[in-house]
C-alpha cells in the first residue's frame, strides 16, 4: 500500500459496512458529528433492518407516505434503472430478500414458500414527493442507497471546506483532490488478486459482486426482480462516474442537503438516467449503474460512465476509455 500523502483517517461502521474517510487533516468534531447524524437520518428512513424506519412502517400497512427531501433523486434513479433493465432492478425486492433469508435477524434460511417481487406500477406510485402504496411493501434501496449516502457525506465535507478527500464505504467510494487514487479491482473469486487497477481522480467508483453478501448455494443479495432469483450471468461489476466540472467548490455545491426541487417526474423516458442531479450525485449513479450492469450491458444505460464487468465464465467486458489497466 502506498503512503504517499500524509493524511488523517476517520473509520466507523455504518449501514452494515465499514467506512473510511481520508482527509489531509483530522476532521473537526462537529463535522464528525454531522456525518454521524446524516447517516442516522438516512438509516432511519431507508433501513429495512430496523423496525422504527419509514421503510419498515411502509411494510406494515398501505398508505400515502411522505418522504424526506433526499428521496426524489433516489426514486428517480431507481425508476430509470427499472426501465433500462426491463424491471430487473427494482426497489421492491425487499420482501423477496427477506424471504430468501436476508432479513433483519440474518436468519439466512430461505422460506420454502417463495414470494414474488411485485411490479412497480402494480404496487406503488411515486409522485415526486409521496409514495402511495396499495399493500404493504418492503422497499430495499441496496442498489444505490449506499452510494447515495456517500454523496451526502461527501457534501458535508465540501460544505465544511474540505476539498481533498476519499470517502470509502466499502465497495462505494468517491475521490476528490489533486492526487489520484489507484484502486485495485478485486477478483470476485479470489480476494487476494486483482483483475486490474483503476486510476481514480475526482470521480466515484462503485463495485458490486455476488461473492460476499452470499449465504448458501446460489443465494446472494443481487436479485433479478423479474424472476425473484439471485443473478448468475454476471458475477462482478464496477462503474465509474466522474464529478462533472472536476475539482472545485462548484462540483458539489448543488447537493440536496437542505432543499430539493420537487418537480421530479415520476416517469422518465425509458433507459435515460436523470440528469438534473448528475453533477453532484455521481456516487449514487455509479452505485446504481454497477447494479444495473448485472442485468444489462453498458449500452442499455443512456449515461456517460466507465465500467468493467466479469461474467460467470471468467471473461470480462470493459469500456474503451477506462482509466487504468486490465490484466489481460
Amino acid at each position: 500500500m502506498r503512503t504517499s500523502t500524509p493524511h488523517a483517517q476517520h473509520r466507523f461502521d455504518a449501514i452494515g459496512a465499514p467506512w473510511r474517510i481520508d482527509t489531509p487533516e483530522p476532521l473537526p468534531p462537529e463535522v464528525v458529528a454531522a456525518i454521524a447524524e446524516r447517516i442516522e437520518s438516512f438509516d432511519r428512513t431507508y433501513s429495512r433492518f430496523r423496525t422504527d424506519s419509514l421503510v419498515s412502517r411502509i411494510n406494515r400497512e398501505p398508505g400515502v407516505w411522505e418522504f424526506p427531501p433526499d428521496a426524489p433523486p433516489l426514486f428517480a434513479l431507481y425508476r430509470s434503472l427499472y426501465e433500462a433493465t426491463g424491471g430487473a432492478v427494482s426497489p421492491l425486492v425487499g420482501a423477496r430478500l427477506e424471504n430468501l433469508g436476508y432479513d433483519r435477524s440474518y436468519s439466512l434460511t430461505p422460506n420454502p414458500e417463495s414470494v414474488r417481487v411485485p411490479s412497480w406500477d402494480n404496487a406503488v406510485a411515486w409522485d415526486g414527493e409521496r409514495l402511495t402504496t396499495v399493500r404493504p411493501v418492503l422497499l430495499d434501496v441496496g442498489a444505490a442507497g449506499k452510494g447515495y449516502l456517500v454523496d451526502l457525506v461527501a457534501a458535508i465535507l465540501t460544505e465544511a471546506g474540505v476539498d481533498e478527500y476519499v470517502v470509502d464505504a466499502s465497495g462505494d467510494l468517491v475521490h476528490r483532490g489533486s492526487s489520484p487514487l489507484r484502486v485495485a479491482l478485486e477478483h470476485p473469486r479470489d480476494p487476494t488478486k486483482a483483475i486490474g487497477v483503476y486510476t481514480l481522480s475526482n470521480a466515484a467508483l462503485c463495485a458490486s459482486a455476488s461473492n460476499r453478501r452470499a449465504w448458501g448455494s446460489g443465494l446472494h443479495h443481487v436479485l433479478d426482480a423479474l424472476t425473484g432469483e439471485p443473478t448468475t450471468r454476471v458475477i462482478a461489476t464496477w462503474a465509474v462516474v466522474p464529478a462533472a466540472g472536476g475539482p472545485g467548490p462548484a462540483a458539489s455545491a448543488t447537493l440536496p442537503t437542505t432543499t430539493l426541487p420537487t418537480t421530479t417526474q415520476p416517469t422518465m423516458h425509458a433507459g435515460t438516467l436523470p440528469t438534473q442531479h448528475r453533477s453532484a450525485l455521481h456516487t449514487m449513479h455509479a452505485d446504481g449503474l454497477a447494479t444495473g450492469l448485472f442485468f444489462r450491458g453498458a449500452a442499455a444505460f443512456d449515461f456517460d460512465f466507465q465500467y468493467v464487468r466479469m461474467l460467470a465464465d471468467g471473461s470480462v467486458e470493459y469500456s474503451r476509455d477506462i482509466q487504468g489497466e486490465m490484466f489481460t
Binding site: V183, P188, L311, D313, V316, Y318
Partner: protein
C-alpha cells in the same frame, strides 16, 4: 495465447452465438481452422480485412489478401498480422435468423478490441447485441494485490459484524 481461445471467450459472452467460423477466414494459421464450423462458404463475401488500417497498415493489407486462405502456407505458425479484421456471422435465434457484424483488432497476437454491431431485429437479440456493442471483451488474469502499487481495493462491500457471524453460524449448523 492463441487467438482461438480468446475469441471463444469473447463470444461466450454473447448468449451462445456460434459465428466464430466466419472469423477464421481472417486468420492465417491452421490452428484456428477447427473453429471454422459455420459459414465457410460465406467467407469470400463476408470477410473483409482489414476494415480500417491500424498503425501497422502494411501488415494489415497483407493480412487482407491472405484472408480466406486457410492452408497456412504463407505465414509462420502462431502469428497473426496486426490490424483490424471484420466479419459477418449469422445464427438462428428463437426469433428467427439474425446477423451480426464483428470487428476485432489484433496486436501482437492479442485481441485488443472487439466491436460487435448488431443487425438483429428480434427483441432479445437486439438487447443482447446492442448491450454489448461498445465495449471490449477479454479474459483477465488475476494478479496478487500484495504485489501491486495501489491505495485501495474495490470489490463487493465488506460486511460488518452480524452478517458474517450469521453465515458462520449457518455453516457450523450445516456441518453438525
Amino acid at each position: 495465447m492463441p487467438i482461438s481461445l480468446r475469441t471463444r471467450y469473447t463470444f461466450g459472452a454473447l448468449a451462445g452465438l456460434s459465428l466464430i467460423g466466419s472469423l477464421a477466414g481472417c486468420a492465417a494459421d491452421d490452428s484456428t481452422a477447427s473453429t471454422d464450423t459455420g459459414s465457410g462458404a460465406d467467407d469470400s463475401s463476408s470477410s473483409s480485412a482489414p476494415a480500417e488500417s491500424s498503425t501497422g497498415s502494411d501488415t494489415s493489407t497483407d493480412a487482407g489478401t491472405d484472408s480466406g486462405s486457410d492452408d497456412g502456407t504463407d505465414t509462420e505458425a502462431g502469428s497473426y498480422a496486426d490490424g483490424t479484421y471484420s466479419a459477418e456471422g449469422e445464427y438462428t435465434s428463437p426469433g428467427g435468423s439474425e446477423s451480426i457484424s464483428v470487428e476485432l483488432t489484433l496486436e501482437g497476437d492479442t485481441v485488443t478490441a472487439v466491436t460487435v454491431t448488431p443487425n438483429a431485429t428480434s427483441g432479445n437479440s437486439v438487447r443482447y447485441q446492442s448491450d454489448f456493442a461498445e465495449g471490449i471483451a477479454d479474459v483477465v488474469v488475476g494478479e496478487n494485490i500484495d504485489d501491486l502499487d495501489v491505495d485501495r481495493v474495490a470489490g463487493s462491500s465488506l460486511t460488518s459484524g452480524g452478517f458474517n457471524e450469521a453465515v458462520e453460524t449457518i455453516k457450523a449448523e450445516a456441518a453438525a
